[in-house]
Amino acid sequence: MITGIKVTVLIAVVTSVMSLLLGTLIAVMRKSRITPLRALGGLYVETFRNIPGLLWLLFFYFVFPEILPSGLGEKLNAYIYFPIVASIIALTFDNASYVSDIIRSGLLAVPPGQREAAISTGLSRIQQYRYVLLPQTFRKILPPLGTRMIHNFKNSSLCMAITAPELTWATQQIESLTFRGLEATTLATAFYIVVSLSIGGVIIILEKYLKIDIESITHMETG
């Protein structure tokens, strides 16, 4: 059970961070001037958003080793942590598609004048994103991003389908070994609820902390 919690937290934290990075990259790609990059970003988002995360988990666990050259695939299957690695990869890809959509809508909501101001002081494209556009975007999208991260945390429960030893998997093990599954499941449910609500709480506090900026963003264009 404790190991289960550890694995759940590990999966959730690693996938959240990685999907945030990947999602940002994809969102910026989708705003690129280069058509193939834009198309690639769009294709990525459509593919991962329209196919359930569970399917991606099964895919990376069962199919991925099969399509690799045989020696490599067998090595992967023998690797005891492979279920966890596959979970992290699948959930990162899945979550990144949602994250990139959220970031994209945030980027679209930054007034165009911000970018023009950055351009006319001579900032390069990367600098525009790094210092001007993305900081404002992240302040704006904090609430939906938080909701998404909670979702990602909950989705880590799906990893039990590929025998990653996370919390939900642990409860089912307890059920089948000791028939004390009711207690285990109750505890697990409580754990998920407490963590999800805490993430939500942290987001609300963070949002208040950044309020000066958020207000000024919304007031800018009306002024």
Binding site: P52, L55, F62, E175
Partner: protein, 253 residues
């Protein structure tokens, strides 16, 4: 491409499972469960959503607790609850199908409640004031002015939610329902060398439904505007925008 065409030989199994000889399965069971849950949870969700806006704490608090707790629980765990424990506690035997429907309905009720609440809050306050000053009662105003507008605004959110619910139905694979995922897994185990193709077929099944629905949602969004659910914070009582009278008063729910 040959391997794919070969897979399409199994199209019936992917789409409807072993039906009519055996139980219904495959993609149609995902759609059936998603639709059933959508309908059931729309009505219950509307009650919870309006209940959450109530100024009476003994109405709003239980609604908040229900919504927030369910939203904080993974759908998979809810499915387990209804699959493993509730039947044994009640001493009844529910089929896999119905326990999935109940679990996912409970899950989606919480989300639909939030959509309904968001829709009501998005109707400008002046609408209620205009309706009241033309002599309508609060109930009439809610029914003829506020709810029709709110519902229009909710439509795209409903469709988007349907998509995520439809994807969420794939979790019932874990308790052994022969849905599209399970169908694909069964076929892939029968022919392990054709694994990639059978996964591709599953993916296509989900993709086609989700993608077409997301186009519908986009069209609707263009027509009626987007409801930004993220901006609504858990507020106990929004008297300024509420359907209900200020302070004390009759409950509408």
């Amino acid at each position: 491409m040959d391997f794919l065409i070969e897979q399409f030989g199994n199209w019936k199994f992917y789409l409807i499972g072993a039906y009519p000889k055996g139980p219904l399965g495959g993609l149609s069971i995902n759609i059936a469960i998603a639709l059933l849950c959508m309908i059931i949870s729309f009505f219950i969700g509307a009650i919870f959503g309006m209940g959450r806006l109530s100024c009476r704490r003994y109405i709003s608090y239980p609604c908040i607790i229900y919504i927030e707790f369910v939203r904080a629980t993974p759908a998979l765990l809810l499915v387990f609850w209804f699959f493993l424990f509730i039947p044994s506690v009640l001493g009844t035997n529910i089929s896999l199908f119905w326990s999935s429907v109940i679990a996912l309905s409970i899950y989606s009720t919480a989300y639909q409640a939030e959509i309904v609440r968001g829709g009501i809050l998005a109707v400008p306050r002046g609408q209620m004031e205009a309706a009241l000053s033309s002599g309508m009662t609060r109930f009439q105003a809610a029914r003829t002015v506020i709810l029709p507008q709110a519902f229009r605004m909710m439509l795209p959110s409903f469709v988007s939610f349907f998509i995520s619910l439809f994807k969420e139905t794939s979790v019932i694979y874990i308790i052994g329902v022969i849905d599209l995922t399970q169908a694909g897994v069964i076929i892939s185990q029968r022919q392990p060398d054709r694994m990639f193709a059978s996964y591709l077929c599953m993916a296509i099944g989900f993709f086609v439904v989700c993608f077409s629905m997301s186009r519908v949602a986009k069209t609707l969004e263009k027509k009626v505007g987007i409801l930004d659910l993220s901006s609504y914070r858990p507020t106990v009582c929004r008297t300024d925008l509420s359907l209900y009278p200020r302070g004390r008063g009759k409950s509408a729910a």
